[in-house]
């Protein structure tokens, strides 16, 4: 099977070519998008920043891509995600994957409630052309098109090897 994102992202969860002066501003931008789309309060941005301050820029999990997130908490009203692209690629201090051009923000109401969305993201971003394609996206429609099928359409090898069916079964 192939995971798909549960619903299209609202326009409020997407901000393109944002001018950010540093990595904190970039994370705050995606926090603002999560807030604007009704997922979180403003304090969630600071918690996402605090996680990086505590553990380092490990959220930069692939070239050009940061996946900002924090633990579930009272400032999370709904699980969801947001997408921010940066006008200028921004170093986060990661040894391999800097600079960052796309920041995904993740929020979860419970520790495992958005796992299906995250698994869907894994599908989408296993296509290595996805980060540059998102970074170049001109509007929210293009972002939604990319996230909803761009990768699975191209990534025939991943889809054909049958291993996609396994991730859910070992949770129970």
């Amino acid at each position: 099977m192939t995971y798909t994102l549960p619903e299209p992202l609202p326009d409020t969860a997407i901000a393109l070519r944002v001018e950010a002066e540093d990595w904190r501003a970039a994370v705050r931008s995606v926090g603002s998008a999560l807030e604007a789309s009704g997922c979180t309060d403003a304090s969630y941005s600071e918690r996402m920043i605090a996680l990086v301050e505590e553990y380092g820029p490990y959220i930069v999990i692939a070239p050009g891509l940061a996946m900002a997130h924090a633990r579930p908490g009272p400032d999370v009203h709904a699980s969801g995600l947001a997408v921010v692209t940066l006008a200028t690629p921004m170093p986060f201090g990661h040894a391999h994957n800097d600079p960052v051009s796309v920041v995904i923000g993740l929020a979860a109401t419970e520790a495992d409630s958005h796992v299906a969305s995250v698994a869907a993201l894994a599908n989408v971003f296993n296509d290595e052309s996805m980060v540059p394609a998102l970074a170049a996206a001109r509007d929210a429609v293009e972002v939604r098109q990319l996230l909803s099928g761009g990768a699975s359409a191209h990534d025939a090898e991943t889809d054909a090897d049958g291993s996609d069916a396994a991730p859910r079964s070992d949770l129970s």
Binding site: G56, Y58, I61, A62, M67, R71, V115, V118, E128, A166
Partner: protein
């Protein structure tokens, strides 16, 4: 895809391999890593239990794990462990994950 020949050393592994993917909060990047580790293990034809956790609870979660997958920044937070700690640079690079898991599990 066609089934690759299973490396002979994998066949001698006595039990289900237990692998844990670690991130700072246990909900985001570790889940990405977990999903792609399962895919990589599928390529290698290795049966394994793969879970996601956060660094704060890794000591308990990884007590009987053979392999911990994480990023370089978190290695120093893992503490003493008998597991092989495998650093993944690109969480979406199935070739990298497959190659490193093949070494760690083999």
């Amino acid at each position: 895809m066609p089934t690759a020949p299973t490396p002979p050393h994998v066949l001698t592994y006595p039990e289900l391999v237990k692998i844990i993917a670690i991130c700072g909060a246990g909900i985001g990047t570790s889940e990405i890593l977990r999903v792609n580790a399962v895919r990589a293990l599928g390529r290698l034809d290795i049966d394994a239990e793969v879970t996601a956790s956060d660094v704060a609870s890794v000591a308990a979660a990884a007590a009987d794990a053979q392999v911990i997958l994480t990023s370089a920044e978190l290695v120093s937070r893992i503490g003493a462990t008998n597991a092989d700690v495998v650093v993944i640079d690109n969480y979406f690079d199935l070739d990298e994950i497959t190659a490193k898991l093949e070494i760690a599990v083999g």
